[in-house]
Symmetry: C2
Subunit: 518 residues, 2 copies
Amino acid sequence: MDGQGTSGAAEPSGGAAEPSGGVAEPSGGAAGLSGGVAGPEALRPLVDEVLAGLAAGARRRGGPIVPGTPAEVAAAVREALAEARGPAALRRLAELLAYGAADPADPHCAAHLHCPPLAVAVAADLAVSALNPSQDSWDQAPAATALESELLAELAESVGFRPDRAAGVLTTGGTESNLMGLMLARDQRLGPDVELNGLPGNVRPRILASEAAHFSVQRAAALLGLGERAVRTVPVDRQLRMDPAALADAFAEAGWEGATTLAVVATAGTTDTGAVDPLHAVADLAARHGAWLHVDAAYGGGALFSERLAPLLDGIDRADSVSLDWHKLGWQPAAAGVFLAREARTYASLARRAVYLNPADDEEAGYPSLLGQSLRTTRRPDAFKLAATLRVLGRDGLGALVDRCHENALRAAELVRTTPELELHCDPVLTTVVFRYAVPDPAGSDRVNAGLRRELLRTGRAVVGRTELPGHGPGRVRLKLTLLNPHTTEAELASLISAVVEAGKAQPGARGTARPAT
Amino acid sequence: MDGQGTSGAAEPSGGAAEPSGGVAEPSGGAAGLSGGVAGPEALRPLVDEVLAGLAAGARRRGGPIVPGTPAEVAAAVREALAEARGPAALRRLAELLAYGAADPADPHCAAHLHCPPLAVAVAADLAVSALNPSQDSWDQAPAATALESELLAELAESVGFRPDRAAGVLTTGGTESNLMGLMLARDQRLGPDVELNGLPGNVRPRILASEAAHFSVQRAAALLGLGERAVRTVPVDRQLRMDPAALADAFAEAGWEGATTLAVVATAGTTDTGAVDPLHAVADLAARHGAWLHVDAAYGGGALFSERLAPLLDGIDRADSVSLDWHKLGWQPAAAGVFLAREARTYASLARRAVYLNPADDEEAGYPSLLGQSLRTTRRPDAFKLAATLRVLGRDGLGALVDRCHENALRAAELVRTTPELELHCDPVLTTVVFRYAVPDPAGSDRVNAGLRRELLRTGRAVVGRTELPGHGPGRVRLKLTLLNPHTTEAELASLISAVVEAGKAQPGARGTARPAT
């Protein structure tokens, strides 16, 4: 018996495998599978249903967002869920999703950093769904494992890290990437697998971040057991850039308090203004005080593709870790986040061996494992759609889209500046414009701006962002346009701004009414 | 000016919105968008390219997994990434992904709990990618927000929670869901926004879980700042069920040590054997000691759809929180995890206000926000594909698929039992079969079983799972079939098991060789 047993082992690895059958003839109908040789044919009619539903829903919506109140939309959803049954349900629900959308592909939908995806990225994502590879072991995702590693090396290079020394992973977005950066910072400074409750009483961990840093920094501190109060916020300038002198003070203050500064988070592209913290100055201070530097470039990372804007990120290569998000300024459907660490060795605290995923003898035999790169176990290869997009459009092609959105932001800012009812907060940095409908009384201003935005939402005319400037008290509410649609025309920008002005005028307390109160 | 200003506000909310144009004529070609009225037509030719690439790749693969070593696969990926450029790149890369896959739709691919997705779920997921809604604010996802809430209420009911009192969220999988359960447990017991390093020295948090619980429990403890050593493991029986007497001892021991038991994790469907911990006995002990009960039903949750298997989960309604994963026994493409908390009030420590996402005046005006339900910010509506699947197949339809996989596990176990070269570990509980190629010498057994699995992988003949039983020392390596393909036939099971036996015989040290060593 043993004598015959080597035939399998001797088979050339490139040769055709024994066909195992089964997938050539999946049960059709509702229980058909998307994989195998027959999967694409099982998918085709269902994809047609979905595309027909999406088109019908978009036509019925007829604008940037479903009109109506949340209660009205919820009632429509409940009705569809109660009625949709059997084969027709797929089209009906796709139509519902499209009808009930806020569609970032509509030029009047410009409130958030969820971008309108490129059709090529969406089509690529379908391949991922159909095959369902999972990145937690090689034998669930052979090609996808290699592809993610290749893409990460490209991205590491683009931020100026040495690809042979860096490490990283695709994430669900900036929130997860920021968490990972702060977790590695904690584990580098306090030791891997730290029991925080067992630390000496004089170790009081601190994280420094600007007032305009993303709230996920506080959230990460809470999750990591450090508590939100471990985050000390550093003041910003009008554009919402961190003030380096204030950061130096914050370091000094932590020192006086006997606190241990684990990390500094620099933001490269604040959610509101797109401002980039002074990366070199922050890196100098972090280095002087031995603190981990995490750069949150979830939004600003898109600038890396643009020759014109890339210099804004000068200094990002000095970060210990970086967050990037290609579902923001990268036109990918969510999720397409990336976490990068400059030095792979700092990643050690995440390493993990699971006997059913990455046994030591498999790794010795050359089977790589990405399990220790991620906080997740099952993990969809979100790298695939970005890799496909980069091959189809090229980096230059993506850069041109970034530039078009940036130009639109400059145009929109100019329109705001020349519209008497509106007040621009500051010049755009990336692709957002922060402004308000000008009402002299601070409380009135907040009411009018918040109210006009809800009115635009309710009537389905426009989806405009709303935010608040750092600080306290009334008068801080601002409107925001997040211009992520590269095909938006100047006429469409003008129409969007007109819609804001009209809705503003219609608010009780707007201009005429408010003026006497000042 | 003011006198005219109410026209916008007076417009009926159900009325047609002003068309904003723009999306009807997106730039075609590579930079076309997937949204708007024109998106579906922009998608159609690209989807055709992807389906053609998937079919070609599956044909070229010709079996359950790409044949070859990891280095050979990586070289093919590098070559394709270097060569693929322009419009043809999409098809080439889709073909690469399919060729380089481990395809769970192939009956000989049965190593992990990543299931072969249903074509209907994959098609539904395309609608989500195309529209790119994000669940972090209503104005990015009006219908999807309502749809997730409706689906969660259905799922809460199916585990026996009161939908009007429960809360939950879609997650990336069991790892994130387990983290959420343990985070809420920590915050319930130690206070919200706890600074662990500031706790009194006598507070020593502990988590109890079985030896066969998922490794994400240890990972969560590390992430949460409790340290992996905070997890005390409780012994299991041969089927890998937690021993309730041992759990009682573990509680007592924690008490002697002055430790605070935050939580008990009960597993409903261990990764290897599908064993379900004795939920009522565990719940009784958790209640007696005031510990949070988290039930990890990431794998076993699928049994809820099956009349025959649902009784296995009896007692799950006593959990404080539950993990479910529909990308395991639910035939969804990843990610389709669910986290549920029995009482919404216990969720409070996650609540968060972001001025640009869920301002207080918006919530007062009736705009709901799911931001405070999730650890993430940007979040794809993974609820949609599951809701669509449930409407197309019905709960009974999904239950029938669960039953077919369970029956296949029983058949495969019988085949193993009657194959002299193989040794069954225990009767299947859900859809997995744990066994080994019998070699008397423990170290030889491990070598042969690990080696035969790699040989099947390398030649592309079969993808079989490999795991280790709890304990120490050699002889614990086992093979595993994870039978998640409902269309697999008995003949295909027999052929899969034959492939294992043939590969086993071919291993140096198998039977004949090993016997003298005992």
